[in-house]
């Protein structure tokens, strides 16, 4: 990531991630400016213990429960994580030895909070510690349910979503509920209003609806980093199913989010849902039929949905890195310290995507570079060679100053690429102008004939008497 970006005192908990930023380290490897190297040296100790920039997926996860029975009731989910190579550490949320970091270094790369009713974490963990964990670029999954405590709700609030204030309210949907044997209160919802993003949910379309039973949350309008991945149908509302509705529900329709994700500016990823059962073996295994739909699926979409989304959350997908940001004068190979106005230059950058195992070339036709000084003077779309190398060339504008090459690439689900590289542009030197201008030939002629004339005149005047 670019140096200017590092200074970003965002008051929210989502401030820049230094240690985990793979771009920074990759840029440094390709011997860039002294600054980048310097910043990497500063970050090195942290990097070495966190995941390596070569493989940005998380490795060590901490799972917190209210009671350990969840370990077996949600075993499919955990086993799938284990089979993907994660190292899970199960603990009770009120375990007195709980700690996320030791000697200033984080012990885990990700945190899964399956402890909705915990009022107070044990050990050294508290709200601030969780937020610091995220602020330092680590990932988080929060699952709440109807018993959600204020603590869990406030963690979610800090991440940009607000759970329903009413503690007894559940999401109710009389139209797209899941058909089960008996006519229930329609709190078991078959949701299929997914976000359209291959990055978040994988390339295989999720056919079956996802079963959901839990509480509603809405997105904080001021936070533009949070996204609804699974939203409720327009007919849904959030209310207490066992009591008669006396006043209009505060959350209705598709403003209700069932599952949301956040990608912070430091690329920390967070998943929030109001249903702990979403991850349970029971929901994974159960068949589903959406009310009003004739088709009955043998297996709900939960397993696929959770697996794909957890791949995204734990950086197995959608993680980009930009390396080898290079620029040079047309026809040269070395990177200059300064350009002159009207120089022609070549610009290139390599962008790769992490596939979970290796870095694959990222192919897109919408990556742009700006040549920026307070406003972009040049904005060019980069062409790529399908091998990850993006390239363009342009002419430096006729303006001097301190410019920046800026690549700002923010796409849904992908880590945001914010690269900038400072480069001053100087005006012409005194000997870079044309020496003789054609338009000035009359003046040259005038001055020389004047000199000659004066010489002859003096000669004649002095000696002709």
């Amino acid at each position: 990531m670019s140096p200017p970006h590092r200074v970003n005192p965002q008051p929210l908990s989502l401030s820049p991630r230094q240690p985990k930023d793979p771009t920074t380290t990759e840029m440094a490897r390709s011997n860039f400016s002294v600054l980048t190297i310097l910043s990497v040296i500063l970050l090195l100790p942290v990097l070495s213990l966190s995941f390596s920039p070569d493989s940005p997926s998380d490795r060590r996860l901490l799972v917190l429960f209210d009671d350990l029975s969840l370990q077996s009731s949600h075993s499919i989910f955990f086993n799938s994580l284990k089979s993907r190579g994660f190292d899970l550490d199960f603990k009770l949320a009120d375990d007195p030895k709980l700690a996320l970091q030791r000697y200033g270094q984080y012990l885990y790369d990700g945190l899964i909070l399956f402890s909705p009713s915990i009022e107070r974490f044990g050990g050294a963990l508290d709200l601030a510690a969780v937020l610091d964990f995220v602020d330092s670029g680590h990932d988080l999954i929060i699952a709440a349910d109807s018993s959600a405590s204020d603590l869990i709700k406030s963690v979610a609030t800090e991440c940009g979503v607000d759970f329903d204030e009413d503690p007894s309210a559940l999401v109710i949907d009389h139209r797209s509920y899941a058909v089960v044997g008996i006519e229930g209160d329609h709190t078991l919802i078959a949701a299929d209003d997914f976000i359209e993003s291959d990055v978040l949910l994988g390339e295989n379309k999720i056919e079956a609806p996802v079963l959901f039973k839990g509480i509603a949350h809405s997105l904080n309008a001021a936070n533009n980093l949070v996204l609804k991945v699974l939203s409720a149908s327009p007919a849904a509302y959030s209310a207490n199913p066992s009591s008669k509705l006396s006043s209009p529900p505060s959350l209705t329709g598709s403003t209700i989010s069932l599952v949301s994700v956040v990608q912070a500016r430091n690329n920390a990823r967070i998943m929030i849902t109001g249903s702990l059962d979403l991850f349970s073996n029971r929901f994974f295994r159960s068949s589903v039929q959406k009310a009003g739909s004739p088709k009955r699926y043998d297996k709900s979409g939960n397993e696929q949905f959770v697996a794909e989304l957890s791949k995204w959350v734990f950086h197995e997908r959608g993680h980009l890195k930009a390396v080898n940001l290079r620029h040079n004068k047309a026809g040269e190979t070395d990177e200059p310290a300064m350009y002159r106005i009207k120089d022609d230059l070549d610009f290139s950058v390599e962008i790769y995507e992490w596939s979970g195992k290796s870095w694959e070339p990222y192919v897109a036709n919408d990556v742009q570079v700006q040549f920026y000084m307070m406003s972009p003077y040049v904005l060019k779309t980069l062409s790529n060679d399908k091998k990850g190398l993006y390239h363009t060339s342009f002419k430096v504008p006729d303006v001097y100053g301190v410019f920046q090459f800026k690549v700002e690439y923010n796409r849904l689900g992908y880590t945001s690429l914010l690269l900038s590289k400072q480069i001053p542009v100087r005006p012409f030197k005194h000997n870079e102008y044309e020496r003789f201008i054609t338009a000035a030939f009359p003046y040259y002629g005038a001055s020389f004939t004047m000199m000659a004339g004066f010489f002859i005149f003096s000669f004649v005047y002095l000696y002709h008497k």
Partner: protein, 678 residues
């Protein structure tokens, strides 16, 4: 006689007993050596010797009196602008002239950058670099900082020499010597030329006086060579300081005055044309000035007078050819009307088409002191641009303030081309000194010269009285310029019995005043003008000196603890110091060439934190430097300057309104402070 009249003055003004004690043995030596020679020759040689030794002493005195700051603190660069000059000089000595000339500095005015080579007056840096290279060539291993620190005192010494010659040119050698002594220690000049005050003014006053001297010399002699010399002096002045505009306006004004008073002469024609044409061509070689001489409204007076001179010369020639007086008068009328008409049309067309730029804000504010206050807060905000208080006149000139009118009287009494010049110089510069504090500096040489005429003439008259009484036989041998007048005075004096006693009393009075002047000057220099202002000194509770070196510590911190390409935002006062000492990129600095940029910073400083944050993000600011003097009682901190940030910001961004920052029309920083303040 010259000997007796100059010696006591020197003795009293230098305040040291050195000149009398050295000159007396010298005189006796001389007497013993030259006893065989004729008396007349001996007197002349004595006079020369004493004059030279006095000048040498004054030369040294002017240098050492400016070293207080080095002794008190250390050999360091003072204040704000000198740090920029130092940085550029360093660059010049390291990278050479062409790199300096083409220097594009990306460390200041981020992100705009600044073309340093094209936006500074290189005279000072080139001078210092030449001295540095010269010393290196002579195998003196000096550091460039030492050269920079001592440049201003060195040029102050040179100024005393020029003042001597100038005084000699306009009055006589006595006046020249007195002028040299007065200017050597005049606080108005010392304020800008103490060691470490490495600013343009340091060399510019030398160049200014030199140009004037050479021009007056050219007018007096009518010699092309002196005119050429004054053109070069002008070139040096243009290369050194923006104050050259004063020269290019004063000289035409002077020429115009001579034309009007019927003192037009061939000498004047030669001097002015040579000086103007060559000076203009030379001045165009300075990148920062460029084509201003033909394009800027401030320089149009000189050009107008130049053409007027040609018209005058032409008329003179026609008059010479035409014997018919009536015909000539008719011709005169037509020519003058035509010339004025053509000039007016040319000026009008030039201004309307934008070829001739209008007067700059600074120039306006000189003519109309209230202009800057109403229109350009950035000029009004600088403390040295404030109108001068009476006390600072007294502080900077002391008795010269009273001697100045007396000198004018003497000048008017013996009107010549040269005295008219010094009178005009004195009067105009005094007016400008009243408008802006820092222009006291320009007035100082004029005031010193005119006062020197007063002192010299008075004392000469008084001593003449004494001499005619006591040594009537020697009156015949009195030489000097006022010989004829004094003899008639002497005749008159014999009828007044108390003349002699009165003269003695007056002489003592004059010496007393001059000695007070010397004491005052030394006191002012040591107490007021030798502070580097970057290191603060205060008296502790027990009378001990407390040194605050917080500024340099802060800049050093920046240098050591921030990334090398960090951008530091501060109010523009500290820009030069941050780049020079902290070696970090700044957003704005003391070269206030882009008002909008400064206003943006002012806006960021005076908005709420969230708005300010956005502005700073857009400028890529990494650090903000603010100065708070509340703990040490340092008065010129950012809280003191805050209203100017508001005003300058509000000048460009009307969102910022000054009344929002005031409580009941008052500016306060305590509990009842106004809401928008961060």
């Amino acid at each position: 006689m010259a000997v007796t009249k100059t010696e006591p003055i020197n003795g009293s003004t230098t305040k040291s007993s050195a000149p009398p004690s050295t000159s007396m043995p010298l005189k006796s030596d001389l007497l013993s050596i030259l006893s065989l020679k004729s008396l007349r020759l001996k007197t002349k040689q004595q006079e020369l010797l004493i004059r030279v030794s006095i000048l040498c002493l004054v030369y040294v005195l002017a240098f050492i009196t400016r070293l207080f700051s080095v002794l008190r603190y250390e050999s360091m660069i003072h204040e704000f602008d000198p740090y920029f000059n130092y940085r550029t000089t360093l660059f010049l000595t390291q990278k050479g002239f062409y790199e300096f000339w083409n220097w594009f500095d990306s460390e200041s005015w981020y992100p705009l950058g600044r073309i340093i080579g094209g936006t500074l007056y290189p005279g000072l840096m080139v001078t210092a670099a030449m001295m540095y290279w010269g010393l290196r060539f002579l195998r003196f291993a000096v550091h460039i900082r030492e050269v920079c620190v001592l440049t201003a005192p060195f040029f102050a010494s040179n100024t005393t020499l020029v003042a001597y010659f100038f005084g000699k040119e306009i009055w006589d050698t006595g006046a020249g010597l007195v002028a040299a002594v007065l200017i050597a220690i005049c606080p108005g000049y010392i304020s800008r030329s103490v060691a470490g005050s490495y600013d343009n003014e340091g060399v510019a006053i030398f160049a200014l006086l030199l140009t004037f001297y050479l021009f007056v010399k050219a007018v007096n002699t009518g010699s092309l060579a002196w005119g050429l010399a004054s053109a070069f002096g002008y070139f040096y002045m243009v290369s050194a300081w923006g104050g050259y505009v004063f020269i290019i306006n004063l000289i035409p004004l002077y020429v115009l005055a001579l034309l009007i008073t019927g003192r037009y002469s061939m000498r004047l024609y030669v001097a002015y044309n040579c000086m103007y044409v060559l000076g203009m061509l030379l001045a165009m070689q300075i990148r920062f000035v460029g084509f201003q001489h033909v394009q800027s409204g401030e320089h149009m007076a000189a050009m107008g007078v130049f053409f007027l001179m040609q018209v005058f010369y032409f008329l003179d020639w026609v008059k010479h050819l035409l014997n018919d007086k009536k015909l000539f008068e008719a011709f005169l009328r037509i020519t003058v009307t035509c010339a004025v008409g053509v000039g007016a049309i040319a000026l009008g067309v030039g201004t309307a088409s934008g070829y001739i730029s209008p007067w700059s804000g600074r120039f306006y504010s000189l003519l109309d002191p209230t202009y800057a206050k109403d229109h350009i807060p950035i000029i009004a905000s600088v403390s040295e641009h404030q109108p001068t208080a009476w006390s600072s006149f007294m502080f900077d000139f002391h008795i010269l303030l009273f001697l100045f009118p007396a000198g004018l009287y003497f000048c008017f009494k013996r009107l010549s081309d040269a005295t008219i010049f010094i009178v005009m110089y004195g009067l105009t510069s005094m007016y400008f000194a009243g408008v802006m504090v820092r222009l006291i500096l320009v007035a100082t040489p004029a005031v010193c010269l005119i006062s020197a005429i007063a002192v010299s003439a008075t004392i000469k008259n008084l001593t003449m009285l004494l001499r005619t009484k006591s040594k009537v036989s020697q009156t015949g041998s009195t030489k000097g310029t006022g010989g004829g007048k004094t003899s008639s005075k002497a005749m008159l004096d014999q009828s007044q019995p108390f003349q002699r006693n009165g003269a003695i009393a007056l002489l003592f009075g004059a010496f007393y005043l001059l000695s007070r002047y010397a004491i005052h000057c030394t006191w002012v220099t040591s107490e007021a003008y030798s502070s580097p202002s970057i290191v603060l000194a205060a008296r502790g509770a027990h009378g001990n000196r407390v040194i605050f070196d917080d500024y340099r510590e802060a800049y050093y911190w920046l240098r050591q603890n921030t990334p090398p390409d960090a951008k530091v935002m501060s109010w523009w006062d500290y820009g030069y110091q941050i780049t020079a000492m902290g070696n970090r990129t700044v957003i704005v600095d003391n070269n206030t060439w882009n008002n909008t940029h400064i206003a943006t910073v002012g806006r960021a400083m005076s908005s709420y934190e969230d708005e300010a944050y956005e502005i700073m993000r857009s400028l890529d600011v990494d650090y903000v430097l603010v100065v708070f003097g509340g703990v040490t009682g340092y008065s010129s901190d950012d809280i003191n300057k805050f209203l100017w940030m508001v005003r300058i910001g509000g000048g460009v961004f009307p969102v910022i309104k000054e009344p929002d920052y005031l409580v009941n029309g008052e500016y306060r920083v305590d509990k009842v402070c106004s809401p928008p303040r961060v």
